[in-house]
Symmetry: C2
Subunit: 368 residues, 2 copies
């Protein structure tokens, strides 16, 4: 097998797939990337058994063949080459990489031992703008914690609401929901749960694909995402996603509008004095006041209080939040002001971008 | 005690001294910064018993006093404040920090428990340009490894050579020497050994002091560095620095001139295939050749060879280096080309900036 291409093309392809090739000690072949020449170019494949990613590098094939090589070593070797033409020669399981006056020999493994990548065919097919999907994943996936031990919330939920697609993430302490502009009706009325790692990979690939479309193919237990020359396949999480809408309060006792950046800065200041393991910061305001107060007290270290200009409509309240959840949400919302809907100290509060629809971030308070 | 200043001034002062306040579990007072109001302003002091640093924050003193507070907490609290006026009030061991509508209370400890900072008086006094000293420290200190277990090379050596000051660092595997432009004669004919941590602090402070002078006061066992309003005091390492000049080869068998960046890149490529724990990269060339070869072989992973355009004057040689030492030196030299003087495979090689004097970096080869 022989293949000719530019260093830039090979490097981009490896950057896309190399991320999935994991450091697996139990199954060393998973550290490898599969290279396969086709008439269209060089196919690169990586998988961690949960997610598989395939991409195509454009170039000139002279003789077909296939091999697998250690992903990280090969990616680093290619990244260090000058921006020049690269020649790949495979003999047996040995890959030789020639670029200018640099010659690299990488000892590989046979492609026969590489896992078979499942094919997703049939099923429902729809497409989404890559930008919007990528941003939506980024704005909900950070709430998901697969270590929580509850499989049904270990992934990103993709569901329907009033004819729009929604993406949801939660770790049961906070929840993020993004409504997409597309009106797609999913065949599974309960929606589907995409494993976190797969969702993150789709998010990563879509971020470099501005202006492109993502084609989604839904199989019975699997989902395929096609972005340009790149395909991501993953299983779906079995189980039913919790009916999260029922935890959103129906009525709120107050709505606060405050500068997002000033609130984040005040929370950071208060966070210096939180009690370790509890991370509690107080968010309080008077009825129809013009200010909110963020504070924290620690009997050993001291205390911090910041008052911020704000618009309060409704009744006085004092709610205690984990400051990390607050900062995560304030980093994801990107409007100048944030709107906080409060339903008392024992119910979840809702954080929304002021003046924008389609996103809401819910935090469960710490009960006092 | 009460003190008024700008957030910027207080923040800069804390950034200077806060670095020295260590995370000491055995002696918690060392985590603290001492604050002392004087007529000139607010004095900030931190020490780790090896190095002490003192700086002055300009501002308005209303009532004198002193306290110590946890360095990291206080520095972070100040850094998060807006660029505005700051008021510090100390009552007992409690410090209150007021800035706009933010109020922070920090519980401190009495200044009585804070270590006494030694005074360095008398002795020799000379001054050096801050820029030059800072760069010189950065270009030799990275070679010093206090973990080596040999106290006499655990610091940066400051000595005389032909009426010029020299700074030297070594870990016995490689050595860096920088000659300063000043003609200063040290009273101790054998020079002095500055603990690494102290040298690093002087380097850090001088980097923000372009165009200023550093006044050095040499005591018997101590040295004081004065940079503007900041003073660094440290002990000197007892013992005699090795006569490092005798390990520099008197004659070389070849001189190679090669692009610094291309050589570093080739070494990085070869480093992917080094044998773990040995880190050996081969540097070889033919007699009076127009190229050098950098290569590495690993029976399990594979191999890499890069040929680079170069000018070789002298006899063929093959020398094996630890690639980390090579990269460290190539990062420190900042000329376009590097000149490598080789004295065979078993003697140290000398790396110098091509076209510049005053710096040399010596690497002991790995014997084959």
């Amino acid at each position: 097998m022989k293949f000719l291409c530019t260093q830039e093309n090979l490097n981009s392809g490896l950057a896309l797939v190399g991320h999935v090739a994991s450091k697996s000690t139990s199954l060393p072949i998973l550290n490898n990337i599969l290279l396969r020449t086709t008439q269209g170019g060089l196919e690169l494949v990586a998988t961690n058994l949960e997610v598989a990613i395939t991409t195509m590098v454009r170039g000139k094939t002279e003789g077909e063949g296939t091999v697998t090589v250690q992903g990280r070593l090969f990616s680093e070797a290619v990244a260090l080459l000058p921006h020049d033409k690269v020649e790949l020669v495979v003999e047996g399981t040995t890959l030789t990489l020639i670029c200018g006056r640099s010659r690299t020999v990488v000892r590989g493994m046979s492609a026969d031992d590489f896992p078979v990548i499942p094919q997703v065919s049939g099923g429902t097919k729809f497409s989404l703008p890559a930008d919007e999907l990528g941003q939506a994943i980024a704005s909900v996936a950070f709430t998901v914690n697969p270590e929580e031990g509850r499989p049904e919330i270990s992934g990103v939920f993709l569901g329907n609401t009033e004819k729009h697609l929604v993406l949801v993430g939660t770790d049961s302490y906070r929840l993020a929901e993004r409504t997409l502009s597309q009106s797609v009706t999913l065949p599974q009325s309960e929606g589907m749960i995409v494993p976190l790692r797969a969702a993150q990979e789709v998010g990563r690939v879509t971020q470099g694909a501005e202006g492109q479309e993502v084609i989604v193919v839904l199989g019975d237990n699997q989902v395929l995402w096609q972005i340009g020359d790149t395909q991501i396949v993953s299983r779906l999480v079995a189980g039913q996603y919790p009916d999260y809408r029922q935890i959103v309060p129906k009525e709120f006792s107050a709505t606060v509008v405050v500068s997002r950046e000033a609130l984040a800065q005040a929370v950071r200041s208060a966070s210096l004095f939180v009690r370790s393991g509890i991370n509690d910061v107080r968010f309080s305001f008077e009825t129809n006041a013009k200010a909110v107060k963020i504070s924290s007290t620690n009997s050993q270290l001291g205390e911090n209080t910041t008052e911020l200009e704000a618009t309060v409509e409704g009744e006085a309240a004092e709610v205690v939040f984990n400051y990390r959840y607050l900062l995560d949400g304030l980093q994801t919302i990107n409007t100048k002001e944030v709107q906080v809907k409060v339903a008392g100290p024992n119910n979840p509060s809702l954080f929304e971008p002021k003046g924008e629809t389609g996103y809401r971030y819910l935090i469960m308070p710490i009960r006092q």
